[in-house]
Symmetry: D2
Subunit: 434 residues, 4 copies
């Protein structure tokens, strides 16, 4: 028997709060889960800084990755199995892609990638095809298998049906994270009838479609996404933590570049500061490592770095006001001037942030959105895009609604010197409607 | 208005998956939650190494502490409020004790305390009464308030009623962790009717009792504990990780004491190696910090330290066999000799572990057990200990059932040299019933 | 102490799957629950014929009525209590109105009311103010109390705030039935964060409003309604049973009027056939009584009555096709002619039914809708109607979407004689898109 | 293709709150569900009079029967499928037996059977093998198929493995009803990890066993049973209703036998009074029919029948005291005398009831218990009975704990004449500890 078809003597199960059990029967999958690059995902939180708002959201990308795998396994083994439009030979490829789709994520990905100009998708590809345990395992299936899995994740694979299981507007990734994030945060959104959606999924020539009888279940899923975005993912307080995190990394980089002498040298970061990093450098990072530095840096001489780290570690976050970049842009300039006069560096303490910065969208077919839209299979065999049939989805799709906030350290504006200027700042901020 | 009675302008709530919402109205509680020593609990997992078996169990002591607070708040404000046996002036003391009862826990407490001979309860007292933000806040209530809170947690407080809310066989601590650990692991044990138990709790002169009409709900709670212990807390694979962790710390200490020169100096540990640590040294530790060291130590020259760290970080755990310390003790000596002959240090690679080592018990009234037993209030006003009335509880109480396992690195016994000796070892282990 | 303020010695609780426990402390409420007119609600299903599609939906109006009471009790005692805009003296009135709002419902209300031209709201008033146990109890509070409770339910009460707790677009009635119907059917819709909605409800001068920070929770509630309507309440198969039920009652009435001699005389119905009924006649009816007649009538000589009863009792329902009353009206006439030619009475076997017939709407502010719209309370104190702020709600509100179906007995058109005509009928129906 | 192996064109599903979905693919199963004898189970409550205590418990035997079928289907198709010890040819037999095992239950079975000396198991056999729609369907599989299904249900079938799926101490019947009754009552007992139990079930030569690794899950299931029995099934208030029900039927029979002239003749009961009933007479009964009579009989001239019916219909139940048949037997005689003196017929108003009367047991291997005990499959292939390995189960098994109550109408003893005697009665009852 080839490695690709090798089964475990006895099925292994993982207890999972969302799917009850995760079932593993393939030796390949079992080996991948035990690879160190996959185990590393235990050290990276699924929701980044959201645990500072929703204290239950301490779950990792490891759990989510198992969940995505399980959903795809069920679609493949229970729903698609035996259907003529489904190519059974793609099964292992899609299971591996599901399991490994987030493999390149680093600690607090969003901010880290922004400051150091890196991309987790490139790292995913690098781990799949580079010198790693994961690559060793995939190569045992066939020499070209690592590349195939990477292509599915990169959405360049020839078989679009396979891609759409992993990344479309209603893929296994989203179905897992909505339910999982809802479970761990404890919010009552995020529930939808996944059983029903799985039952009405159908493989077609080059895509996966949903039988139109399941339209209401899909509407419910879309609304769950919508609610989760506004209630959880875009939460302004989690974004406050994200803003501070970004500024910490930016400050450390700037200090390093300017020749600042750290009491605690930023060993793990150096290769990122000067862009000489290797894959091994990247894999050495995780959220525990970053937090360890931040705690050490609370004792740095640079007051900005020390203060920002204290804020992040001890959750002394920035406050915020709504901000209209069209109307308030001039005001932002004035505020920056006043901050300087008050002795507070606006580069680090007056930050505008918008949800467009976040890599999310609830449902937007077309243009820049790279995920495939949801197609409904009508009783007569036609295929129609969801928002053409659903009033509800049409109402919220395509309309990018950006939420702008201006973040600042409220306590610094109350205490101490230069009261008059600080009062002026506070007045301006309040006008904006704190 | 005094600080002790000061209320927030608007009640704050935390979304919690177990209790739906955690409600905070007291300024003191709000300030304590924001103290850095309390925020630090976010960086310490509630279930230590259990997440390596139950991947969902990534929740922190922060969440649990809020949960215990919420249960006590409900008992105090909803159930006991207005009852003549309940002294309203104890309310804030018991709320603070509930919130802060785990404050002294360190990273992977159980192993850390064992190796370095420290005690998290002493650290809790030190944080409450030492130079900390928490102490600053408590002192604002009254000069003796920090000591009172510490006494409740240490079970030396004069009012036993207050103690039994926090530490008895059916206290808020246990009621929260059973439900919370069940929720995050996803197991179906751990459920019981807390609503009903809360409704039938009654304050008496010097204890808290349960109306006998609630006996079946309490039985169900006891059985939940029993199940959680055997299914989750005593899980042999989590104990395997715990064993490795303990051996890492022991090895690092030993190396340090023997003058070994670390490539990555164990700065954070030094004060613990030579027992010169301060409270600040202790508070600088968390699980991210320890994991950061373990990852660095994977590159140490000492092969034992490097190997053990790789095992813990990448989840390459020891296997185990059942082990009867009475019958198999001689065998253990023989095995140790064979390990030495095979070139594997038995001190680090042949470890017997028993659940008696674990700081847990499902229900044992009396002797060494320090938690107060469960007392039922009969309709005629008598008070009777639970196991005298419940056959089920009687069946499992008092009978300490210890589970012994012998842990070892199975792969090392298969690969490589000295095959004959290794085969002899494997044969001996198998007899024990692998 | 007056009867109005009399409390039970010990609080009584009812175990409830939706709200965990229903709490009763007022003697008046306890007495009302034990009144025979209230106990009668146990014999009337909350969802009429829906149990023939969702087998779990066998719950009664009794459960729902307790649930509505519990929600209002929580709003009154936990949220509104102590707020200056809330008049504590209205508490008992609104609790009674909540508990009793459905008291006049009869068996399979919708169809029964249609055929016999009666109105459950009039019966509710009659029970509250007539010669009943409920009236006896209410009168003990004060002579005018029964009328006050009736006015709240009839929405004619002076205090509009009180009315809007019981009947608005987001009242306790709807919040209970959505959750309860979802629970018993087992569908995954119907969930929303009621805890949060209750927390943000505020009494204003003459209405109840929702703090705008809770808008997303309200959106989620509206979407739950939308989903429940299309997935559960408008389910075409349940409507098929409803259509048959209506035709049974219509046939029995017609036979009675035409002097038909029943083998089993329709004793309970006679007063409704000739509109001489009293309140006692109405209260003697329930769904068990109706079903008993239907089972007896399966043996009647009239083939239409016997057949329709067999269909309802043994769940041999009509099939259906979509139907466009604008386009297909002429076709309906032709079909009726063909049915007659085929020997099948179209009056009883070819029935068009639309969801507009159903007394439901998901969210439609204004005109004919009598329920008060949802008002959001802005941070600046303004009040704005929900659909002006929520894109999602705006998308689905006001647009009455009617679903038309044409029901018919498919098997009768296949078997037996006159095959050619029947084939012609089937062809016409299929065009319409079976 | 034979009828036995005929599949539906598309799988049908029923939404079920307990198992999410019930899946039907076999034409035989689909036809059986639509048979009128099976549809009749919708009109018989699963928990008899328990809804008068747990208002949510209004679910029918129809739902439960579908649930048992679904569990057996999963065992057969997912767990046993492909195992050499499992005879695939038994699949349809066991599915039908699962679906139909409760087919002979009548309205309020327990009391009805007692008074009229009938047995629902005989009716089940009669329906399966008599002139019914169900029999027509089963015969289409093969002439002997109805008898085989009946034998499985009667536990006389040759293949004991098949029997133990349907009736053992851990069969599909019990697994469904525990979860379902817990769900509908809303109690927090009744939960156990069925997924895990199903995973560790194994077919052996002539039984079904559980892998010993699943012992704790089985313990949890046994404890769930234990809790459900004492909290729900043996609830003294539900038994009060049951006692009244029994006395209504007894009184009606007695009156009929004594030539009493009913205003509303008990047509449906006559054949049971004189034991001339046919299967058709039995199938004509359901709980709606009985309730219809009870409501009519509230107007009968016989004061006992009228009063008892009023009590049952309007939930005016008897009160109760604990009663020790050993110690209090003489007292019972004295009480009966006093009742007579007070003008209250003790035959109908002073009733002792014990839980031994109820057809239940939580776990008792051996003797009179007809259900097969739970056998654990050890790693070495041995089979051991559960209570030999589990302390917890041993503690509660075999020890029949009977709960005795004495029921009486409290209000009749307070009001009216003969106060002295009544007071004497009340004093005697109170001694017993009301």
């Amino acid at each position: 028997m080839s490695y690709a078809t090798q089964k475990l003597v006895e099925e292994k199960v993982f207890k999972d709060p969302v799917h009850r059990y995760i079932h593993v029967r393939d030796q390949v999958i079992w080996d991948l889960i035990n690879a160190k690059e996959f185990q590393r995902l235990r050290r990276i939180k699924q929701l980044g800084t959201s645990y500072l708002v929703f204290h239950g959201a301490e779950h990792s990308r490891f759990s989510h990755s198992l969940g995505v795998y399980e959903i795809v396994r069920r679609i493949s083994d229970d729903v698609f199995h035996g259907r003529p439009e489904w190519d059974e030979s793609e099964r292992l490829t899609v299971l591996c892609a599901a399991l490994l789709h987030d493999l390149g994520h680093g600690p607090f990905s969003h901010s880290f990638e922004k400051v150091f100009n890196v991309d987790h998708e490139e790292f995913t590809r690098a781990i799949l095809t580079g010198d790693t345990e994961v690559n060793e395992i995939l190569k045992k299936v066939s020499p070209e298998f690592p590349a195939h899995v990477a292509e599915v994740i990169a959405k360049t694979y020839a078989n679009k049906q396979v891609i759409s299981l992993i990344s479309s507007q209603i893929d296994a990734d989203r179905m897992d994270y909505l339910q999982r994030d809802a479970y761990y945060t404890g919010v009552s959104y995020g529930h939808f009838d996944m059983e029903r959606i799985l039952r009405v999924m159908r493989p077609l020539a080059d895509q996966v479609v949903i039988k139109s009888s399941g339209m209401h279940a899909v509407e419910d899923y879309i609304m769950s996404r919508y609610q989760m975005y506004w209630q959880v993912y875009f939460h302004p307080v989690a974004r406050s933590a994200e803003v501070i995190l970004r500024k910490i990394l930016q400050r450390a980089k700037e200090l390093s570049e300017s020749g600042y002498k750290f009491k605690q040298p930023p060993t793990h970061f150096l290769a990122f500061f000067d862009r000489s990093f290797t894959l091994a450098d990247y894999l050495a990072l995780d959220e525990g490592v970053l937090m360890t530095y931040f705690q050490l840096w609370m004792d740095e001489r640079d007051p900005i770095l020390a203060d920002l780290c204290d804020r992040f570690v001890n959750r002394r976050l920035f406050q915020y006001v709504d901000f209209d970049p069209g109307k308030d842009y001039k005001k932002l300039g004035e505020l920056a001037s006043l901050f300087k006069k008050a002795g507070i560096d606006p580069e680090y303490y007056l930050i505008d942030d918008s949800t467009s910065d976040l890599p999310y969208d609830f449902y937007r077919p077309g243009e820049e959105e790279e995920r495939l839209p949801i197609q409904l299979l009508m009783p007569n065999g036609d295929v129609k895009e969801l928002s053409r049939l659903s009033q509800v989805v049409d109402a919220i799709s395509g309309k990018r609604r950006t939420d702008y906030k201006l973040y600042f350290p409220a306590e610094l504006l109350i205490d101490g010197q230069k009261k008059a200027i600080k009062q002026q700042i506070l007045d301006m901020l309040r006008e904006g409607g704190v």
